[in-house]
Subunit: 211 residues, 2 copies
DNA sequence: ATAACAATGTGAAATAATTAACATTTTTCT
DNA sequence: AGAAAAATGTTAATTATTTCACATTGTTAT
């Protein structure tokens, strides 16, 4: 593991993930080289920031030619992916859970949804995009059996804290909470929370103030 | 409009929205006063940050008693809400679009979903949580008729740029893009992009590096 | 050949966000 | 009454992130 990896800023990690997706598209279109300002344009950021991010991961482009698309894709993969891949589960297979499961079906190789969970008897036992749906009571067993390390919470808000607790007890290492209700996890579990209502209120605020 | 409003940091705006939601729950449970450290606990941040945010909006609590829950809710509302309310539309009523529409149904008063759009003939003309679904070709007309100022894009990624362009031409003022594909908007339109895959990759990275 | 140009790479400055430190004040306890 | 405790409010320090400014170096044009 690179020494570099440890000290990458959070924001850089996010952008690297985005660069990679943009680069994959460029690669599919047959581009072999790309300039920092081209990447920047796609992501609505400055070319300097792109160059700095790339500098931070220790890659170096060719002067006047830019960056080799495929090499950069691979290097970003080396930094942000895990060698062996990571298994993920989705808890709550309502609209949001299905949307996420849908996004992932067959796309990533390094991150794969290994199980989904719900309480509804009508959902348990079914498959969603080829992924088995289990009852929430089976979370501890399935997480161990399938070596799941990350959980995505898409249950109704009021259930989120209880689900988080179950996941943590089952040994989950990272949580992504998409409910509007904050959850508590011990320090060793990496938690990311995102709340759509907050984002919308933020947009509304800036629409209002910048008329 | 407060002078204060103009200079609030983006991060503070996000947190204010979250404070308000937490405070509404506290109010519903009959709390009349709350301490900064209680708010901080709920949101996983430090009490200092809570106090600073509250300071920035010019509210002042009572020493040893904390903040008056109802007053704070109202003040946050004065800052982040618009007097008259803002109308929003959702473009793409797949799983994600439905999840968002669902979240909102009947909850907010100041932000309301005034229309949803899709291309599927089977969806156009139906209602989703009491909201009319129109064809995408009707976007310009409906946006004008219903005074819609913010658009939420939840179509498949490849369609996002085209939809963004349509919305911008129709006079939208703010956009929230939930597809993995970045879109371009003129400077006067406030754009916020959020991509679930990036978030998940970020969680995976930190799970990997902090073992 | 040489000048002009267009790209990368990066130290340093600027900006944004968080945290520390502490003065202040009310309440409670003895 | 006086001391201790517990809370807010705020300046200053720190840390994180972005941007500037420019040195460097291939490439192209004359």
């Amino acid at each position: 593991m690179h020494l570099l990896m440890k000290n990458l800023p959070h924001k850089t990690i996010e952008r690297l993930s985005q660069y990679r997706r943009a680069l994959l598209l460029c690669h599919a279109q047959g581009m072999t080289y790309i300039y920092s300002h081209e990447i920047a344009k796609i992501q609505h950021i400055t070319p300097v920031q792109v160059r700095r991010d790339i500098m931070l991961i220790g890659y170096t482009g060719t002067l006047r030619k830019g960056y080799n698309v495929m090499e950069l894709i691979e290097l970003i993969g080396n930094i942000i992916d895990s060698e062996e891949g990571i298994n993920v589960c989705v808890v709550g297979i309502g609209n949001l859970g299905r949307a996420i499961t849908n996004y992932f079906s067959g796309k990533r190789t390094k991150l794969s949804i290994a199980a989904v969970f719900d309480v509804e008897p009508s959902k348990v036992g079914k498959k969603y995009h080829l992924i088995d749906c289990f009852h929430i009571d089976d979370i501890p067993r399935i997480i161990k059996e399938r070596k799941i390390e990350i959980g995505i919470i898409t249950v109704p808000g009021e259930d989120a804290p209880a689900i988080a607790e179950i996941l943590v007890k089952a040994g989950i290492k990272g949580l992504l909470n998409y409910t509007p209700k904050p959850v508590n996890v011990p320090n060793k579990v990496y938690l990311e929370e995102y709340d759509m209502i907050t984002s919308l209120e933020k947009v509304a605020f800036f629409v209002k103030t910048h008329h």
